[in-house]
Symmetry: none
Subunit: 200 residues, 4 copies
Amino acid sequence: MSDDGGKRERILAAALDVFSTQGFSNTTVQEIAERAKVGKGTFYTYFPTKEDVLIHLLDDGLTHMGQYMEGKIRTLKGSVAKLRAILREQLQYFHDHQPLCRLITREVWGHHDQSSSFAQRIRSSYIKMLQEVIDKGIREGELRTLDSETVATALYGMVSVVALYTTDLSSDKALEHIEMTLQELFFSGITQPHTLMGEA
Amino acid sequence: MSDDGGKRERILAAALDVFSTQGFSNTTVQEIAERAKVGKGTFYTYFPTKEDVLIHLLDDGLTHMGQYMEGKIRTLKGSVAKLRAILREQLQYFHDHQPLCRLITREVWGHHDQSSSFAQRIRSSYIKMLQEVIDKGIREGELRTLDSETVATALYGMVSVVALYTTDLSSDKALEHIEMTLQELFFSGITQPHTLMGEA
Amino acid sequence: MSDDGGKRERILAAALDVFSTQGFSNTTVQEIAERAKVGKGTFYTYFPTKEDVLIHLLDDGLTHMGQYMEGKIRTLKGSVAKLRAILREQLQYFHDHQPLCRLITREVWGHHDQSSSFAQRIRSSYIKMLQEVIDKGIREGELRTLDSETVATALYGMVSVVALYTTDLSSDKALEHIEMTLQELFFSGITQPHTLMGEA
Amino acid sequence: MSDDGGKRERILAAALDVFSTQGFSNTTVQEIAERAKVGKGTFYTYFPTKEDVLIHLLDDGLTHMGQYMEGKIRTLKGSVAKLRAILREQLQYFHDHQPLCRLITREVWGHHDQSSSFAQRIRSSYIKMLQEVIDKGIREGELRTLDSETVATALYGMVSVVALYTTDLSSDKALEHIEMTLQELFFSGITQPHTLMGEA
DNA sequence: AATGAATGAGACTTCATTCAT
DNA sequence: CATGAATGAAGTCTCATTCAT
């Protein structure tokens, strides 16, 4: 294990904190260094530029999230079961990693150089995974025939925006309540099913 | 009529363009002025600061969107009909005003001074409107009993993220297709209803 | 008389006001125009540049002061009488025209282009006048033989600094008291004369 | 010892130079930095704003001058002796520190924020010291009974304006000559005493 | 390796001046 | 004439990055 006092990790953590609250551009390297308890020069022994930290944060965050989700659903059978798990775990993950969620939402678009490739990454990689699960479910008859890319994107948007707006989730009770609502909405829709029997 | 050549409008339009593609902080007043075909100094005769333009853009945009949506659903009867219209029109609106959508998504969070109050605005104002429609539908038995705030937020997230990700929507055919998918998803859910006996 | 509504005079008066309180560089043409109740453009129909107003202010002020003083002492006979009048009237004049006094003190040095020539003007013109009076007094035996340029400069410095520091001179009583003090000081010095024998 | 190459001192010295010749407002930070042989950014690592340098210059200058003068007269006995020393040393000091003298004269008035408090400083602190010496002299009968505040201010004005106007003092001979003139003027006045006896 | 002083490119903003109305 | 909208040069200040210690 790289025993450099964990400076690199401290810098990444500090950057995530301030980026997610102040935004990338409003954050100075000085602030990151101070919060990481390292000298400003030290910052540059670990990362070539400020933007590079953002890249790493997004890259690592997305990768980690992907692996986390992957692990959660690998053993599950059936698309419905998988999607239920995805919805639950993604909500949980974003709730537990709100800063990352904010970072993705705010910084993933509108960056020129390299980071714009992450708009690709998130689509190509994460959403594509959702899409595959959905496609499989459709093929196997568990799910209705809908445009899988749109559904995957909608699922992601639903969960991330809810996780973002719900900052004041202090009790896990509330999180469970929200999760149940989203599950019902996503799988069964909001419409009251026609209770057929009254029509006899 | 204020016949100043529409300079103020030109500046706002130019700012929306560049803010939405490059981000607020990566945009210089110079760029805005050039794109608006005015001198840099002129910018400051219309707006006191660069941030003030962002405020106006968000404020006006949100207000306009609210009124637009309001107008579209006022005459409709029934919560389902209203929500169908909301979904359709919001998707259309965000598609027609992608820059505004991007701006809201990116800049509405993480601004300190005044603009943070817009995080309030969008929640309190727009989402609250959705919430009320949903609540009414629940009370009147058209919709299932779900947490209305969560559903409202989810609907907003679904539509805005889909509108954002789907940049390459050139044909309106595609937009209609996407809309139909979201309608189905939102109202009926993704699960294949159990056709219990017809399989014999 | 140039009946342009006295705009030119209003501009000069306004400029004197703000220059003397805020300094030349901290004053905007806008402020001058507003205080003069004219449009900003009008300013430039009367004066080619902002600095030109300063020049005129100093030029006119110095000229006017010179003529005023000239008039006060022309008919007086004897250098002592003339210097007494000069001291009294200059104190009075600076008290009545504090803004001008402040302007001279602050802006007469350290201007490049033309206005630096006014450092010359004030020396060559005004102080030289004092010097001549003093020289004459020395020649005629009324005054002691001292370096007249230094004495003239000292007199000017004495009066102007006292007038400047004594902003709170609201009562003319106080002004008379101060004048008397300066008269005594300048003409008789501060030393208690040795009353060597009269005490017998 | 703070061996930073004396950058801070170099900046202060450079600023004094240019402020005193061009005036505070006509001086750019760029000019100061260039003359101090440091980068423009370095200026801001030592001082938060351009005005802050002016404050420091005036504050330090006034303090130093006060201590210098204090040291020169502490051991002297008698008010006349002290005032003679003050006049001599102040003239010398201003002659040796003409830039500071110009700065005080030009910038001490007409600054709003903090620096205006220096108008207080110089009056309250320095002139008050003069005043006390004079008061003592009056009480002890060495000096004539005159308004001490006015006399103190007049002395200061006399010396500073003479020091300021006499830029071309290259030879120390001239300075001594000027000093003698001021001493005579201040202590004995300009009037030729009536030599009564010759009239016999 | 770690640091922070030094730096200059570049951003925002002001304001003297012009000019079409 | 009078006006104020328009303008860009220029100034203050920030901050990512470098580099000597």
